[in-house]
């Protein structure tokens, strides 16, 4: 299986583990992820205003690059996934927006919204399959109680993201089961960590992330996994005394491809 891959800015900097383990695990699962060339940052958050055009062009160019290679696009960062998927949806459903965007694309040719966008977790579930994943596990994480923290970006808006039930998701728990560990369900696993508002109001992030960590621990979690660098940062800064790691790192451990590195 071969897909186009968009890592995004943070995965080349503060969240190298999210990227590195995603690539190693893909290889172990027989998936080739080809990084899009010359990609630009998605901007981190999707701007819902209909008259915002320029801020969405980097996503359109990423989608178009995958289309040119006739490959589905795989993302791994929750924020990148949200921005790219919402942009694709806007192109498919809003003709005026699509026309305006395509005026900037004249030299490269039109983009019509036809690229299929998968988050890495969806790739595991829908293309690789959790059963196939289970068979590739080298060191099952038995006995570990792991809380999957979704946050907001992977799931909402539910009608656009279409990853899972936005109020009662199970994709990460199913992955955790497939690698032999025990998922821990907790109350605010799909509530916001405080996001970028940490720049304005660290106290808001402290309250939201603190609650998330507390609830996960009350339910017996030894560890929290996430797909989002900003969620991880907010949880770690605000009271997490259990490990908060990327789901790709957990997967790498189970697949036996997590070597020690110096970075």
């Amino acid at each position: 299986m071969k897909f186009s891959y968009f890592p995004g800015c943070t995965l080349k900097n503060k969240a190298k583990d999210l990227d590195r383990y995603a690539l190693r695990c893909a290889e172990a699962l027989g998936v080739t992820l080809e990084e899009i060339e010359n990609w630009q940052c998605c901007g981190g958050v999707f701007t819902t205003a209909k008259d915002e055009i320029a801020t969405k062009l980097s996503s359109v160019r990423i989608l178009k690059a995958a289309k040119d290679k006739e490959q589905p696009l795989v993302t791994v960062c929750s924020a990148c996934h949200n921005v790219v998927k919402q942009t694709n949806h806007a192109i498919l459903t809003d003709k005026e927006f699509s026309d305006k965007v395509n005026r900037y694309m004249a030299d490269d040719g039109r983009y019509d919204g036809s690229t299929e966008v998968y988050h890495y977790l969806e790739m595991l579930r829908d293309l690789v399959g959790f059963d196939a994943l289970r068979e590739k596990v080298k060191s099952p994480l038995s006995g570990k109680k792991i809380a999957a923290y979704y946050g907001c970006l992977l799931l909402r808006p539910g009608s656009v993201m279409k990853m899972d039930d936005p109020e009662n998701p199970s994709i990460m728990e199913d992955m955790i089961r497939a690698i032999g560990a025990e998922p821990v369900i907790f109350a605010n696993r799909n509530e916001c960590c405080g996001g970028y508002v940490v720049m304005e109001s660290p106290s808001l992030a402290e309250k939201k992330s603190g609650d998330i960590v507390r609830n996960a621990k009350v339910q017996g979690a030894d560890m929290i996994v996430t797909a989002c660098p900003l969620c991880r940062y907010n949880l770690m800064k605000n009271g997490a005394d259990i490990p908060v790691i990327y789901f790709t790192e957990l997967l790498a451990e189970a697949l036996g491809v997590k070597e020690d590195t110096n970075e």
């Binding site: 940052c41 901007g43 819902t48 907001c152 909402r156 916001c192 939201k208 940062y233």
Partner: protein, 128 residues
């Protein structure tokens, strides 16, 4: 700016129809930023509907919204208050000299772990 023009512009930009709101307050009940807001999501909806926009434009509430889409997902009438808040916020920061965040503010906010994602997202939300 003309009050009606401002109202219509915000409605057009957001694609939201505030008239669909039945004032149940569920959006505000589920909003994680509620405690930090002077005007809450359901108030944004009714104030925009009434053209009462100037107080919203100068309120810090605009910069507390996390764009988490909880209000949009859970509104029983499909109003999507988050999109309205976004349109009001853009109207505010598109005004000359009204950027909420400038590059010179950044160094004081940094620590060695902060992800690039936080900076680019804050710039997208707070600066034009």
């Amino acid at each position: 700016m003309n009050k009606k023009y401002l109202r219509d512009d915000i409605i057009r930009m957001s694609g939201v129809n505030p008239k669909k709101c039945m004032r149940c307050g569920k959006c505000s009940g589920t909003c994680p930023a509620y405690d930090e807001m002077e005007y809450h999501p359901h108030q944004f909806v009714s104030m925009v509907e009434n053209g009462d926009i100037e107080p919203l434009l100068s309120s810090d509430s605009l910069y507390r919204c996390l764009t988490c889409f909880a209000c949009a997902e859970r509104c029983p009438r499909g109003v999507e208050p988050a999109k309205l808040i976004e349109a009001v916020r853009l109207t505010a920061i598109r005004r000359q000299g009204a950027n909420r965040l400038t590059p010179s503010d950044i160094p004081a906010m940094l620590d060695e772990d902060i992800p690039q994602q936080a900076l680019v997202s804050a710039f997208r939300k707070y600066t034009k």
